[in-house]
């Protein structure tokens, strides 16, 4: 133990040192949580690289390539990103295992853009209990905007319900006497959308005269279309994922049914849906967008998209730039980088969430002009704006104003 004469001196010295290190050196002070050091930031990610949703695995690949680019350009404030991405096969128990592995074994700072509503629901409680950011989750489910109950979970893309409400508003304005038929996927995506549509129509929900759900295990949805047509509807809302959206467009043309056709943003990609379905079959189809489409020639000279194409050429040449998922991955990764940059040398998990919740008018290269990311401690929905568009010729024609699909929770 310290002898008496030394003790006060030691205490005094300790006080001086503590004082010196706290005053005037706030910007030089580095604070880290597990996963961040002077030279490295570890980011975790969970994607379905196998299984029924493997089409979305390309998002993870794009993000990995983007972080490679950032590292090649010097990293974030001098730190390199180590991006660790695991496959959960779209199975919630596997997602839990991978999340625990990332947090407890790989010791990442945060988990970024994990994909799938079931997987994210499975890990949400764990992430919040552990106080590890579950940031910019790759699903449009509405429930991620809940900072009160889940302060460590934040979404990114516009929620399905807010998109559906925009369509509802459009229908009530432009086609108030429409008889609406709906084809929806029988999972969280489809049901969330349908709810948004019905909520948006409110008292006029009776405009929906026919609803058909389908399972992803069905080879084709052709017979659902036949049934919906038989209902006498003149509007058709397609709450479908790419393959089925394309089937629907094709079948509609085959049976020569021309209702007012709205397709969900998830399936609005020219390269993944419209082109295979046939341009001539897709004339007049409506949708909404928040990001630019890589297949759309109107963005060829857009500065943001030029950067995107340059990135693809150098870091991800095998990628299919017509695939909406690739554009998505780029935008999300860019947002992540922005947040980490804002953290500076304070790379605690708390600060990561704080910076993520204070984005103001941030516009990644790939979002539509006029759409930007805004968050606040009570608003955990980064992108809420969409613009409607109509397919004409070989591309989407944006029209109308940028609409906010903000929900009054």
């Amino acid at each position: 133990m310290l002898s008496r004469p030394v003790f006060p001196a030691a205490a005094f010295a300790a006080a001086i040192i503590t004082l010196a290190s706290t005053t005037g050196a706030a910007f030089a002070q580095k604070k880290y949580d597990t996963g961040a050091t002077d030279t490295e930031i570890k980011i975790g990610n969970i994607m379905p690289y196998s299984g029924p949703a493997s089409a979305y695995g390309v998002i993870g690949k794009t993000e990995a390539a983007y972080f490679n680019k950032i590292n090649a350009e010097g990293g974030i404030n001098g730190r390199k990103i180590t991006f660790i991405s695991y496959d959960d096969g779209y199975s919630p128990p596997k997602a839990v295992e991978q999340a625990r592995k990332l947090v407890e074994s790989d010791e990442v700072l945060l988990i970024f853009n994990p994909l799938g509503t079931p997987s994210n629901t499975a890990i949400q409680k764990y992430m919040n209990a552990r106080k590890v950011p579950q940031l910019f989750v790759a699903t449009g489910a509405t429930k991620w905007n809940d900072p009160k109950d889940f302060p460590w979970t934040m979404g990114w893309q516009p929620s399905y319900q807010s998109e559906a409400r925009i369509y509802a508003k459009y229908l009530m304005k432009e086609a108030p006497n429409a008889r609406i038929s709906v084809l929806y996927q029988n999972d969280d995506f489809g049901k969330d959308y349908l709810k948004g549509l019905k909520d948006g129509l409110g008292a006029k929900a009776s405009m929906i005269i026919a609803e058909e759900s389908y399972e992803t295990s069905e080879p084709t949805i052709d017979n659902h279309i036949v049934k919906l047509r038989a209902s006498g509807a003149d509007a058709f809302i397609s709450i479908t994922t790419p393959k089925f959206a394309a089937q629907a467009i094709k079948k509609l043309a085959e049976i020569e049914w021309r209702p007012l056709h709205i397709v969900s943003n998830v399936s609005a990609s020219v390269g993944s849906v419209i082109k295979p379905a046939g341009f001539e079959n897709s004339q007049g189809v409506l949708s909404a967008a928040y990001a630019k489409d890589g297949a759309d020639p109107q963005w060829d000279n857009d500065p943001g998209m030029k950067k995107f194409f340059a990135f693809l050429e150098k870091y991800d040449p095998e990628a299919n730039k017509l695939d909406g998922s690739v554009v998505y991955g780029y935008g999300a990764a860019q947002t992540m980088v922005k947040v980490l940059q804002l953290c500076g040398d304070n790379l605690t998990r708390e600060n990561v969430m704080k910076q993520a919740a204070s984005l103001k008018n941030f516009a990644p290269d790939t979002l539509l002009p006029g759409v930007s990311i805004n968050t606040s401690p009570t608003d955990f929905a980064p992108i809420e704006q969409l613009q409607m568009m109509r397919f004409k010729g070989e591309k989407w024609d944006l029209f109308g104003d940028i609409i906010s699909g903000e929900l009054s929770n």
Partner: protein, 292 residues
């Protein structure tokens, strides 16, 4: 009443897909007494090959024929390399082998051609068939080809020497060997033919469902169900089974209130199981005699 006929017609249209696949399933069952889980993936891979050939400029029918040859050879190769060594192993081990093959083919296809859907051409066009807005010319063509295949298979098995040899090798291998039939090569031949039929099924189905690595998953289940319903020993039964499954599924979805739509597949399968309980060898299958 109109809805009823519409649903039946639509069911026949989807049923054609199942019937096609069911033929391939029955083919392999004839050869090896088992259902090959990887049948669908092999068909998908063959379809991708033909797509790739067309991307490289080969015209449709050229690609079609090349793919048939490739699939036939591929089927034989897979059997010789992967499953002949497992011939002495227990059956369940062989099934595990089929599952492994499924995983490999699916994964490789995903890597080579990625998961975005691709349009696949049809030689029959896509306009309404005979003015009907429920069946397109392509779907009519699909039914036509399936029936043709069926007839061809029937002649093959009933009237050609090789066909007869295959039947002998499958039903009574010991006796077949005694009369000089090379049973081992008969199995290989069966695999080759099943792969070729599967590739035709794939190339017919792709225009409707769009080409992508996961396109055959659902189809295979229905193909199995249809084959079992019709009787695994009867190609004719398989085709009828396919149409029946398609029709029944549609009717169930339309007329069973509440859950009919959400439980289409389980209801279809439940029907098949019920039929099996009554007629264990399927509708047109030859009953199996068990002797001690």
């Amino acid at each position: 009443m109109e809805l009823f006929t519409n649903q039946i017609l639509a069911g026949i249209a989807t049923g054609a897909i199942y019937a096609c696949m069911a033929l391939a399933v029955v083919m392999i069952y004839q050869a090896i007494d088992h259902l090959n889980f990887a049948q669908g993936e092999m068909a998908m891979f063959s379809t991708f090959i033909s797509w790739q050939l067309m991307q490289w400029g080969v015209p449709y029918w050229g690609a079609f024929l090349l793919t048939l040859v490739f699939s036939f050879a591929g089927g034989i190769a897979i059997e010789r390399l992967l499953f002949k060594p497992l011939a002495k192993a227990p059956i369940l081990t062989n099934v595990a082998g089929f599952i492994a093959l499924f995983a490999i083919i699916n994964s490789v296809a995903g890597l080579i051609w990625d998961f975005t859907i691709k349009q696949y051409p049809t030689p029959f066009g896509s306009s309404p068939f005979l003015g009907s807005q429920l069946i397109s010319t392509h779907q009519a063509g699909m039914i036509g080809v399936t029936v043709l295949l069926l007839i061809a298979l029937y002649f093959f098995f009933q009237f050609t020497r090789i066909g007869l040899a295959m039947r002998a090798a499958a039903s009574l291998p010991e006796s077949a060997r005694l009369v000089g039939i090379n049973t081992s090569w008969m199995i290989a031949l069966g695999w080759g033919m099943a792969a070729a039929i599967g590739s035709i099924a794939g190339m017919l189905i792709a225009p409707v469902v769009f080409l992508e690595p996961n396109m055959m998953g659902g189809v295979l289940i229905y193909g199995f169900a249809a084959a079992v319903l019709g009787g695994l020993t009867s190609p004719f039964g398989a085709v009828i089974g396919g149409f029946l499954v398609g029709i029944f599924e549609n009717l169930a979805g339309t007329y069973i209130p509440g859950v009919g739509n959400e439980l289409k597949l389980p209801i279809a399968l439940a029907l098949i199981v019920t039929v099996l309980v009554v007629k264990p060898a399927g509708l047109f299958g030859r009953p199996i005699v068990k002797r001690v």
